[in-house]
Amino acid sequence: MVERAEDEEKWLAAGIAGLQQNAFYMHRALDSNNLRDALKYSAQMLSELRTSRLSPHKYYELYMRAFDELRKLEMFFKEEARRGCSIIDLYELVQHAGNILPRLYLLCTVGSVYIKSKEAPAKDVLKDLVEMCRGIQHPVRGLFLRSYLSQVSRDKLPDIGSEYEGDADTVVDAVEFLLQNFTEMNKLWVRMQHQGPAREKEKREKERSELRDLVGKNLHVLGQLEGVDLDMYKETVLPRVLEQVVNCKDEIAQFYLMDCIIQVFPDEYHLQTLETLLGACPQLQPSVDIKTVLSQLMERLSNYAASSAEVLPEFLQVEAFSKLSNAIWKVIEAQVDMPIFGAVTLYSSLLTFTLHVHPDRLDYVDQVLGACVTKLSSAGKLEDSKSTKQIVALLSAPLEKYNDIVTVLKLSNYPRVMEYLDNRTNKVMAIVIIQSIMKNKTCIATAEKVEALFELIKGLIKDLDGDLHDELDDEDFKEEQNSVARLIQMLYSDDPDEMLQIICAVRKHFLTGGPQRLPYTIPPLVFSSLKLIRKLQGQDENVVGEEASASPKKIFQLLNQTIEALSVVPASELALRLYLQCAEAANDCDLEPVAYEFFTQAYILYEEEIADSKAQVTALHLIVGTLQRMHVFGVENRDTLTHKATGVILVELHLFIKPVQPVSAETLI
């Protein structure tokens, strides 16, 4: 509405002009000590503030100019008082003004001088002023007037240790004054919501937003009073403020003021009044963004906990955790329409709080996750990215806090939360988990833990329901599987039996991975197994005799079957290399039949599966090379294997070079 804006500019300019003109005459009167004229022109000047034509933003400009002029008038009044003019008479004199708004601005100005003169108790003057201001029921004008009152009285409150404190005047009176002014200002501010036509609601709400700090200022002043100690806050300040917050039934006011309370008063106070503060939350309008309020509170308390270890017992003493989780539960119950994102954010904040304050209480952490699961179960699998992002944040928090996946694995509800992620996000989370493990070099040392971990990262291990292969980006997939491959190094136990269990568990899971995954996952598994074998080599053979315990033979058997799985891919070249590695390991264990078996498998692959001629050359070189290193073979086996190799080689040569003469096999080997 350009016209409106232009009109407003005009009105503002006219208001400023009128104000300045009357100010000029007022100054003249001040200079010549003419009280009558000073009052006359100041009243006229203040009449400019009676306008209804300005938005709060523009009204503020006019108000500030009037404010500056009133400071000069106040100084004049002070001088008059010093010269013997009766302040009481002056207090009455300004009340003769016919129009109420100028009258009250003048009254507050004289009131300020009156208090400073100490001719009357501060509390009496303050009480009178805050009462008389009731005459202004127009929201914008009333808010600015009361703001003026707040400003001029700010340094004259009978706080503890102030010069205005007396026998009868105490901080109780200061608090009463501030609470009353606050209550009246909030009422006016809320009233703005319902004024004017429905179609201008947005404009009104914007204007309300511009004025909110005028209301909040009262709480700031309250917070700065020396005399407002914990008891005063608990008994008087908080209950009264909350009463107004709840009763006003206004969404905008409630949200702003709850946030104000949390920001203004010390964290220690919040801890000690947690029940009262939280008790107000379910009483607020359902449309209030309570999750943000509670998140703010929990964030502050988390920081408070982090600031010093000395405060932690306080958290326990007030049972902060149970109070907060109850409050959140109640809010989520009450606000049935709260979107999932909201609930998860709340739980996320609570989790952060718990991790800061009670990191040792895994049961608390699990409880929070459990509550989250309960809420998620009513929503089913999530579709919106905001919520999923929030859940990832939720799940990442314990990882970052503990830097130890083993601790996280103890959280029974952790995998249950992950169930609710869509497949893609599930994988993202799995990567996050693996990254955490790699970064912290966490060792996962039992098969049970490995099982638990694989449950979490199952999205990477195998195809989940609904997965479409086309979706998989090649690069991403490679990254994923490489992550999994790297992970294997961290799955380790010093105890060989346990290690074998681990290997079996991993194997079991990897084999469900499907042809695309096996080329990535099988090799590290094989090397891990070979490592175990090498370790067992050094041990006494007698010890290795029981059925259940690990032995190289057993492991080789397992390896054979494992590498065989690569045939479904098919990944013959890879399998061949792995067989040869195993053969070498068997050689080092002096297990001739095992070594022989591995070579056999390798040969089969070479003859039947490897078709590409270049690959054949490479494979043959590998076979020959490995064979050369074998010392475990007896004459017979060696001959057989060599013959196969040479036969193969001869055929090879026949292909590449013109046969001049048959070459002796001996020569070659």
Binding site: H96, R103, R134, I136, Q137, P139
Partner: protein, 301 residues
């Protein structure tokens, strides 16, 4: 000033002075020609005494049939100009017929004069007190001199002074309860009270408290009523909601009020009313008028 009836030039100066002229309080009154002069202030039952001085001019001598001084209390109705009604008339003979050829002074005294009504200057009526000196002459006309003085009477604070408290309104529209702390106020009093809103269904713009003076003169078919709004004091700016209580504190000293006059000599009355006015967004006015009694409290020196 000499009022000459039937002669052209003044033949003597008459001056009237009061015995306690220097110590007695003086108050301003506006004369008919618009000038403001200061005159002495008396109250009922006081003694009014002083001196008359007659000084012939230019060596002339004044022959007369007698000199007297009258104390008159008069009510004058403006719509019946010239209709003076003397409710009080006292006379003192000062001199027997004779000649005055040099300055002559005569003392006078009116003791414990009953002056039950206050001086009043209104729209359609005025009540005044005056000393009138008359030098009677047969031909050439009498020489007359006037001296106004003001009478104010004081009332002690009333023993009973109930507050005024009422619930008024318009069905389903506006219900308010107003309260004024007294029903009788003195001239330098303060009206303290409040307006409590029980029901508000109209959009109120503001609320004023007016002080209205109703002067009624005459009687029966001949009654004239003049109403004047002496004060318009804004009580509230903006629209209240149900449950709001708006304070009233109205100082009476800045306004030109007089005490309530009831049926003064059956000639006129002056009454005061508080008129509470609420104005809505469409400039409709809702009002409630309530009479109050105004009185004059003795001044503490």
């Amino acid at each position: 000033m000499n009022y000459l009836i039937g002669a052209f030039k003044p033949s003597c100066n008459i001056s009237i002075t009061f015995a306690d002229g220097k110590s007695r309080k003086q108050v301003p009154i506006k004369k008919e020609n618009g000038q403001t002069v200061m005159v002495p202030l008396f109250q009922s039952q006081e003694n009014i005494s002083g001196k008359i001085s007659i000084e012939p001019l230019q060596g002339k001598k004044v022959e007369h049939n007698g000199v007297k001084i009258e104390l008159l209390g008069q009510i004058e109705m403006y719509f019946d100009r010239g209709n003076f009604y003397d409710f009080t008339s006292l006379v003192r003979e000062l001199d027997v017929p004779g000649e005055i050829y040099e300055r002559k002074t005569f003392p006078f005294e009116f003791s414990t004069v009953e002056m039950p009504y206050e001086t009043y200057n209104g729209v359609n009526v005025r009540l005044r007190y005056v000393l009138k000196v008359t030098i009677s002459r047969g031909y050439g006309g009498s020489i007359v001199e006037y001296q106004d003085f003001v009478v104010r009477n004081y009332t002690p604070p009333p023993e009973i002074n109930n507050s005024i408290k009422m619930e008024v309104g318009i069905e389903d529209c506006l219900h308010i309860e107003f309260e004024y702390n007294k029903s009788k106020y003195h001239l330098k009093d303060v009206i303290i009270g409040k307006i409590y809103f029980l029901l508000v269904r109209i959009k109120i713009k503001n609320m004023d408290l007016e002080i209205r003076r109703r002067e009624s003169t005459g009687s029966g078919a001949n009654t004239h009523v003049e109403t004047e709004t002496l004060a318009k004091f804004e009580l509230m700016d903006g629209a209240p909601v149900r449950g709001e209580s708006i304070p009233i504190r109205l100082f009476l000293s800045p306004y030109e009020l007089t005490p309530t006059h009831r049926n003064i000599n059956n000639k006129f009355s002056v009454k005061y009313y508080l008129n509470l006015v609420l104005v809505d967004e469409e400039d409709r006015r809702y009002f409630k008028q309530q009479e109050i009694t105004v009185y004059r409290l003795p001044e503490t020196s």
